[in-house]
């Protein structure tokens, strides 16, 4: 299975998170997954400008040329996408959210009705299913994970996918690998 991992950790000195993700990637690779890991903090992905160019100027392509093009191509050709981020100010990192925003070329301008409201139609027939990996901080409030879970459940419908799980880095790597192996 082709798996893309988007590492949204902005802080390279957070070695606990980095080690966890590296161990996860290598365990997945050992279980015959084709894993591509993107360290978003090294990629300089710029913010979406909301220009709608990917709908009406260069359909399916972003006018802002940067490493997001490579990420997007890998993403749409994967079976599974693991979005990974420490919880910062109650949400996933700006790095991860910025990368998500830049996936818009994968959608068409047209609308359809989904279970949770009007959404854009997918440009491609198949989208990877999504898992979310979070690292809590000492400041993470009790209901934060549930709130993030709810938002990413909606996000998954938006990007023509479904959210298969939300896992925390305090669960063993094997538990996350098992979830992915069961897909």
């Amino acid at each position: 299975m082709k798996t893309i991992v988007l590492n949204g950790n902005p802080d390279a000195s957070n070695t606990i998170f980095e080690d966890y993700l590296n161990k996860l990637s290598s365990t997945l690779a050992a279980a015959n997954h084709m894993v591509t890991l993107f360290n978003l903090r090294d990629m300089g992905i710029r913010y979406c400008t909301g220009c709608l160019g990917c709908f009406v100027k260069t359909p399916g392509e972003c006018i802002v040329k940067d490493a997001s093009a490579d990420m997007r191509r890998k993403y749409i050709n994967s079976d599974f996408a693991l979005l990974a981020s420490p919880v910062i100010m109650g949400f996933t990192s700006a790095l991860l959210k910025t990368a998500q925003d830049r996936l818009t070329p994968l959608l068409l301008p047209y609308f359809e009705l989904s279970a949770d409201g009007v959404r854009h139609v997918g440009r491609y027939a198949k989208f990877p299913s999504i898992g979310l990996l979070l690292e809590k901080s000492p400041h993470t409030a009790g209901d934060t994970i549930r709130i993030i879970h709810d938002i990413y459940k909606r996000y998954a419908t938006n990007i023509k996918s479904s959210l298969l799980f939300v896992k925390l880095t305090d669960s063993p790597v094997e538990a996350v690998v098992n979830e992915i192996n069961h897909l």
Binding site: Y47, C48, T49, G50, C51, L52, F55, V56, K57, T58, P59, G60, E61, R72, R73, I76, N77, I88, M89, G90, F91, S93, A94, L95, K97, T98, A99, Q100, D101, P105, L106, L108, P109, Y110, F111, E112, L113, D116, G117, V118, R119, R123, Y124, H139, A141, D143, T144, I147, I148, D150, I151, Y152, R154, Y155, N158, I159
Partner: protein, 221 residues
Amino acid sequence: MRLTIFNGSPRGEDSNTRVLLEHFINGFTATSGNTYELAYLIKKDNGNSVRLFQEAEHVLLAFPLYYDAMPGHVKTFIESLEPFCGRRNDLEIAFIVQSGYPEAVHSASLKPYLEGLVKQLGCKYTGTVALGGVEVIRATPALSNKRLFESFRKLGEVFGKTGALDRQVVAKLAKPEKYSEFQVKFLNLAANILCWHPLLKKNHAYERRFAKPDTAGLESV
């Protein structure tokens, strides 16, 4: 009252968010003595927005919904506020969240996050105005958006007097909550005629509108 407004649209001065804020500000400044500062978060400002936040009395953060949450650069701004957690207990924060998708339910789903964020900052939560269908402002004449603009003027006016969001207006803006299949058909028809297809044709891209560049040249498509 002194209000510090952050426009979190990636489109900056050319945004629907700016149009909504203009009407809000018109209402807000109707009370004499009310003043405001306005910052565009998309602009590089060398920490000016953070300074404005630090010195603010009332904050209004307005942004379009991107993928069911704040756009990436708004999250960057929120992360830059981390040092203020617990230091601005008197500060009151309100939000406007608007989506291009026509239903308010999209923006409303972010409310618990915003309330939690204000709690983490240790500030006071004024409330959130959540609405959908705002992308239509760009495609239609001002006259057809009169009621929407009046609502924002009223919001600003009441806020300027009381520091609170008018519940009736907030409730009115929260409709429609969900679209029916029939409404989506109509939406597609209108959007195609008024927006997508003329733009695609103007850009000589109509024939390529279903292009799939990211799977081109791959065996497993």
